[in-house]
Assembly symmetry: C2
Homo-oligomer: 435 residues x 2
């Protein structure tokens, strides 16, 4: 007989056991509900794509991180690296889609990263995008969806920090920093401001980006501008003027939705990716800023047309699912839960089993998650099962209770029990759950 194999998981991959997956799935379900409530529809694309469609879309570094192989038919294939290139492919293949096209996708992606704390080789991305609208209303809508998601998850204190890439381009041009990599390098340094502070950033701007004192001063003067000062600052630079106008339009559209208090201008928000072309934003939880941005995105008007030949404007926002879930856990808004069951209906003996089933069915009809214990074990063992799975309520119905049309209802955490009529049970439990 062959030796038993050691069961194990690949490095950088992980199982989500029910205790974590249950609240995480609950979070994702609420997120999807909010997406749909704004008219975003789900799209699903394959995990595997032709490699040539993905190669070169994420830079040299990204190419190296692809899970790429030859399939049984010798096709050069790769696991998707993100959800944006597949979206561009779908747009390229379905010219008949009515625009604007509002879709969401919640799905795993794979990157052969060096695993580190909080960095995995398989992780879920959660994106909404509006394809085919260059109206600032689309930018504002993505931000409003982000705010609605956080509210739906019970987070009250958060801020969306918004900027516009065109303003940063105007700044770079004014400082005579060259296009392309030198500009992106400065943006990546600026992106560190919330994490490492002004002094450290100034140092990096000198050492890494070879800027002089005057350039650094100009940068920090720019960062201190208020929304209403932007147009004047940009005067004469058409790109900057357009950026200032776009930004102010987005702010006033958010004002019109009653969200102005949740949004602030932050001219240091840079997003180190080279494909953003306009609005960019990050989202911070005020009670847990150190965790970093939990949602970010922006406008990228050149990427989506990559398979189509023409430019198609697009704007989106992406949730950091794992980070957001960690934050909700730390804030006490979700908790581990090994079972969805709210009520365990115990089994007295074979003769009374149909009563147990009837009680559980009645609870389910009232929207309560109920399970019947699988066996006729001693009550003590049945209660232990409820305890192991943190099932809050237990119903016991023996011959006595049966005759009286009642049950014994136990609240395990409090060690309390009481007699309740069978007919009143569902309402009683519903009230306990709500309360």
């Amino acid at each position: 007989m062959p030796a038993k194999l050691e069961p194990r998981v690949l490095k950088g991959f992980r199982d989500y056991l029910p205790a974590v997956m249950l609240p995480k799935q609950g979070m994702l379900d609420r997120v999807a509900e909010v997406f749909q409530s704004f008219g975003f529809a789900p799209l699903q694309t394959p995990a595997l794509e032709y490699s040539d469609l993905l190669l070169g879309k994420y830079g040299d570094e990204g190419n190296k991180l692809l899970y790429r192989f030859h399939d049984n038919g010798d096709r050069d294939v790769a696991l998707r690296y993100d959800l944006t290139v597949p979206l561009a492919r779908v747009i390229g293949m379905n010219k008949g889609l009515a625009l604007p096209f509002k879709r969401y996708q919640i799905a795993p992606v794979w990157r052969a990263e060096n695993p580190a704390r909080g960095r995995f080789r398989e992780f879920v991305q959660c994106d909404i995008d509006i394809v085919g609208s260059n109206n600032p209303m689309a930018d504002a809508e993505c931000m409003a969806v982000g705010a609605a998601v956080l509210e739906a998850l019970g987070v009250e204190r958060f801020v969306l920090r918004v900027n516009n890439r065109k303003l940063l381009t105007a700044l770079m041009n004014r400082l005579q920093i060259s296009d392309g990599e030198p500009q992106l390098a400065v943006l990546r340094t600026l992106d560190k401001l919330p994490k490492i502070g002004k002094d450290a950033v100034t140092k990096l701007l000198h050492t890494e980006n070879s800027l002089n004192d005057e350039q650094c001063d100009a940068i920090f003067a720019f960062l201190a501008l208020k929304p209403e000062e932007l147009e004047a600052w940009c005067a004469g630079d058409p790109v900057g003027e357009l950026g200032a106008r776009e930004l102010n339009q987005v702010l006033s559209l958010l004002e019109a939705q009653g969200l102005r208090g949740k949004v602030e201008l932050d001219l240091s928000i840079a997003r180190g990716l080279d494909y953003y072309t306009g609005t960019i934003y990050e989202t911070f939880l005020l009670d847990l800023e150190s965790i970093g941005s939990v949602m970010s995105g922006g406008r990228y008007d050149t990427l989506i047309g990559m398979f189509g030949g023409e430019g198609i404007p697009a704007v989106g926002i992406s949730l950091g699912v794992d980070r957001l879930f960690s934050a909700l856990t730390e804030l006490g808004l979700v908790r581990e839960q090994p079972s969805p069951t709210q009520v365990l209906v115990t089994v007295f003996d074979a003769e009374h089993i149909s009563q147990s089933y009837a009680i559980a069915n009645g609870l389910r009809k009232a929207g309560i998650k109920a399970e019947v214990y699988l066996g006729e074990d001693k009550l003590k063992k049945q209660l232990k099962y409820a305890d192991r799975y943190s099932i809050p309520y237990v119903v016991v119905q023996g011959p006595d209770e049966c005759e009286a049309g009642e049950v014994t209802f136990k609240v395990l955490a409090k060690g309390e029990q009481s007699r309740i009529s069978v007919e009143g049970l569902a309402v009683h439990v519903s009230n306990l759950i709500k309360g």
Copy 2:
């Protein structure tokens, strides 16, 4: 400039555009709700596993169908082929899990099959399993969940056909058909009975399985047995007697749940897989039997312990997601729907935009999916967008309506419109949606 790449999808893979994904996701959400209402909790496992854990679990044919490759660290890895072996791995790695462990998983699997009509290389599996209980209550519960799923999806006329593998083993032994492949081959032939009928099966039993007339007669006599005749038929054969007892227990437990009318004994149900050890079942829609079984499963008491060293009993049911979705479509229980939006709120002009936002927000608060049109285009263009996305209701609010605290409410399919007060709008729409 490099030539544009042709956007394309791998053979055997497919995109689900929103029109199909929206109702399909809706179906899966309801299915998951039913699973949870019976106390099943979600589990998530990685798409990639070490190849050695998967190899040899699905026979030679399965080995060939694995998407297997070496990753960047030269590990021999493969995309998961099903959700059962990963479950066994999780059980093997987490000895502390309280049993019985009730989990569901809804996730894609990959098989390098020759694509054919209705057969894809990536498809979603949807499984529940109860690990660690050998009580027939667990078998009956899986079947009850299957029935509850169909009821939740609006299917009223269906039947669960149940059998027990031990009875088939007793039959094979009585007919002196050898263990292993010869027995499995006969079972595969019997499995074809609903599709090809008695005469064709008889012919195959002669030609493919080399049975004689007497053996065939014995088989069809067995198939005609009633539940209450089984124990007598098995008398003296301990395996058969156990199977008969298990089967009758499951039937009486389903009776106790009021499900006896949805279940029938079908001794020809064989399930061609070699790992079933007890109860087996298939589910047919009475108004669409030709589509085949939409859910099936059974008890497999030896598989789950494969990574643990000891036997762990298990029973489960698996939904054929694609087949069930096709069936619901054919039965008119789901329909294509390109957008979740129920109400499009149009935009009159920049000045009135905050009213549009307020109306949409009010609708969302009432649980209605509402979107604000992204721009200030002519009303005709806004209505065309609603039409393209099959959005049923449109709200128009110009200066007139504003002043009166009203909106113009359009029902696009009927070409009707009426004036409604802003405060009454959400209730009006809710009633239309319910009605």
